[in-house]
């Protein structure tokens, strides 16, 4: 597809072309510095490079073509939005990334200064007309996972067609009942949007599709237990990031190919860093495209990341939806059961997350854990302290960092990460 065709498409989506060009230039430079500079990368990473280079190009074209054929597009910010239902309604679901500072000044007309960078980012992208995914959405689904997002959706809803799902904050039976009813409400909203009834057959097919993608990501996660590490944490994070917006069938096939290559590489005892390189598990807040700052700092400090305990990582892929129930009601029950297992910091208590982190550290043979909190994210800031204590009890060294999308703290952050890595040698 030519640049001119891309541009015509972006104009049709009413993007701010000049600002959007600037964004793509920065993204390209950032990607070059952080990704293309890596040595010993997998051949399968070409898929990642291609998808990212066409992130606002070919994939948007596919989405536009699907829209022209009558499909609807649903945008989401959170792993609580059940893609099984979205796909069963014949719609496309895309994760809206919110990983860069853009339109921050405009965003602050709708948001308090103390909102986190992720919230400022999705509002900023919309107000500055920079994201072709946001502009392609027929519906954006929000969720009440934190006060910041919950209140931001009120303002955001004045600019996009919004559906807000209530996510409970506890895990008692009444909370599951609430979430089950929210699934029904979302199903009704999808049916109204698309004009398609969600049948048991369509939901079963969608569940198989989403599970297949989860299985491919689980397979990748398990292969990272190998020493030497067969894939960089940066590339693995990118795989998880791309899983939110690329076509699920293509993505699953490509990631399984990547895993085949990793198996061969592991059998040959090859990797992206020498055996014995300090191995770190990254835990905490989600890292949306292009929030690659911390993984880059870690992997340029003599360590390799072997797992992501995050929504853009294990939290999204750990649990499968049971495929055995028949009939819509039983399938909705299965969905409720699956999604209520998510160990998001919005729950109280959330002790299973601590167990999960310790188990991941052990399975992936991590030498330490780095906990990432996004500045002003209160739920994860609280849990950072708990994770620190739980890791001390488990005998796993842990470093907690809090940062945002800015680069001004990169020097101090690097010193802290490097000093932590020094203690692991």
């Amino acid at each position: 597809m030519s640049d001119a065709a891309h541009k015509a498409m972006w104009e049709k989506l009413d993007l701010d072309i000049e600002a959007h060009d600037g964004l793509l230039a920065v993204l390209g430079k950032f990607y070059g510095d952080i990704y293309l500079s890596q040595e010993g990368r997998l051949k399968g990473a070409e898929y990642l490079d291609f998808v990212l280079s066409e992130v606002h190009g070919l994939r948007i074209r596919e989405i536009q073509d699907a829209k022209a054929a009558g499909k609807k597009v649903v945008g989401a910010f959170c792993v609580f939005v059940p893609e099984e239902l979205t796909l069963a309604a014949g719609a496309i679901q895309v994760g809206l990334c919110a990983g860069a500072r853009a339109g921050a000044q405009q965003a602050e007309t709708l948001l308090p200064r103390g909102a986190c960078d992720l919230i400022k980012s999705f509002v900023g992208f919309k107000l500055a007309r920079l994201c072709p995914y946001t502009e392609s959405c027929d519906l954006v689904v929000g969720e009440t996972t934190c006060d910041g997002k919950k209140k931001a959706y009120e303002a955001f809803g004045e600019h996009v067609n919004m559906h807000v799902m209530e996510v409970p904050q506890c895990k008692a039976p009444c909370d599951r009942t609430l979430f089950r009813s929210e699934l029904v409400r979302y199903k009704d909203a999808l049916e109204a949007l698309t004009g398609n009834a969600i049948t048991a057959g369509a939901l079963a097919e969608a569940t198989r599709l989403v599970n297949a993608r989860r299985r491919a990501l689980q397979r990748l996660a398990a292969l990272r237990a190998a020493d030497p590490a067969p894939i960089s944490g940066r590339d693995a994070l990118l795989v998880n990031q791309i899983s939110f917006y690329d076509d699920p069938v293509r993505f699953t096939a490509k990631i399984n190919e990547l895993c085949d290559e990793i198996e061969a590489r592991t059998a040959a005892k090859e990797g992206v860093a020498p055996a014995g390189t300090p191995r770190l598990l990254l835990a905490g807040c989600p890292m949306a495209v292009p929030n690659w700052k911390l993984p880059y700092l870690i992997e340029s400090s003599g360590a390799v990341i072997v797992g992501e305990e995050s929504c853009i990582g294990e939290r999204n892929t750990r649990d499968l939806t049971d495929e055995t129930p028949a009939g819509i009601d039983a399938m909705l029950d299965a969905l409720a059961d699956r999604y209520m297992k998510i160990d998001c910091a919005c729950f109280t208590p959330n002790t299973e997350r601590l167990t999960h982190i310790a188990a991941m550290a052990q399975t992936l043979r991590a030498d330490g854990v780095i906990h990432y909190g996004l500045l002003f994210c209160q739920p994860y800031a609280h849990e950072a302290l708990k994770v620190g204590k739980a890791m001390a009890a488990a005998g796993v060294p842990c470093l907690s960092v809090e940062t945002d999308y800015g680069m001004e703290d990169a020097g101090q952050l690097k010193t802290r990460v490097e000093a932590f890595v020094e203690t692991l040698r």
């Binding site: 809090e402 001004e408 101090q412 010193t415 802290r416 000093a419 020094e422 203690t423």
Partner: protein, 252 residues
């Protein structure tokens, strides 16, 4: 004889320690300025030794000039340097130009838990320098002025900029300069104490970095913690010393 050099490139000053046959043979200190590369060239007119370890925030920069150099973080370097002077120390506090670090020391100068301030300069040498400047007195004399204070006003601002505003307000109310200076030193110490608590303060405490030259900070810290901090004769040289010791131990 093989020489081992340790270089600490901080935000305010550059320190160099050279060791030979297990002893320190040279120690030098220069301001960092805004052209640290020129300062480094001046430091080594005949080229740097082969066995060179660099620490401090400018450690990567130095490799442009000295490709043979190896780098370690200032956290590790200060721990090694301080432990060589005070082997009994269990906790280390380093307050430098733009960073404050609290480090739990393990045997042999290894690093246990550590805490470091993030992007904000509150509680660092920069805070004292900035506020001393507002008083119109040299940073070297600021601690002595504060020691003359008797009634420290309770100051709430950790932020360097707000602290100056607060100091100005107090001065306008007629609070003596020495008391205000004492109050400003208190804010540095109270921030430091909470950092030390987070790493699990254990005595003895070694105190290094340029701010360890400030007698008021040393006294207030001792009072707040109920101990006497161990301060080396040249507290700003421990990072460079630690780097030199490290490259020496590596043999290489």
């Amino acid at each position: 004889m093989t020489q081992y050099a340790g270089l600490d490139i901080g935000s305010r000053s550059i320190e160099l320690v050279v060791r030979r046959s297990g002893g320190t043979v040279a120690a030098r200190r220069l301001p960092t300025t805004f052209d640290p590369l020129a300062q480094l060239r001046a430091l080594f007119p005949d080229g740097a030794p082969d066995r060179l370890a660099v620490t401090g925030y400018g450690r990567e920069l130095a490799r442009e000039l000295f490709p043979q150099a190896r780098t370690i973080t200032e956290i590790k370097a200060h721990a090694l340097g301080a432990a060589s002077i005070f082997p009994q120390a269990r906790t280390l506090l380093d307050i430098g130009g733009q960073d404050t670090k609290a480090i739990a020391l393990l045997p042999g100068g290894r690093v246990g838990r550590f805490e470091m301030n993030d992007r904000c300069a509150a509680g660092t040498g920069k805070f004292l320098e900035y506020t001393a400047n507002a008083f119109g007195i040299p940073i070297e004399d600021f601690g002595r002025l504060a020691l003359a204070g008797t009634h420290a006003p309770r100051m709430s601002s950790m932020c360097t900029v707000f602290a100056e505003t607060e100091a100005t307000t107090l001065a306008a109310r007629g609070v003596p300069p020495a008391d205000i200076a004492l109050g400003l030193h208190q804010t540095v110490v109270s921030r430091t104490v909470s950092m030390l608590a987070r790493v699990g303060l254990a005595a003895p405490l070694a105190f290094v970095g340029g701010v360890a030259r400030n007698p008021c900070v040393v006294r207030l810290l001792g009072e707040a913690l109920g101990l006497v901090p161990l301060v080396p004769d040249a507290p700003d040289m421990t990072g460079a010393l630690g780097a030199a010791l490290w490259v020496e131990a590596e043999g290489a």
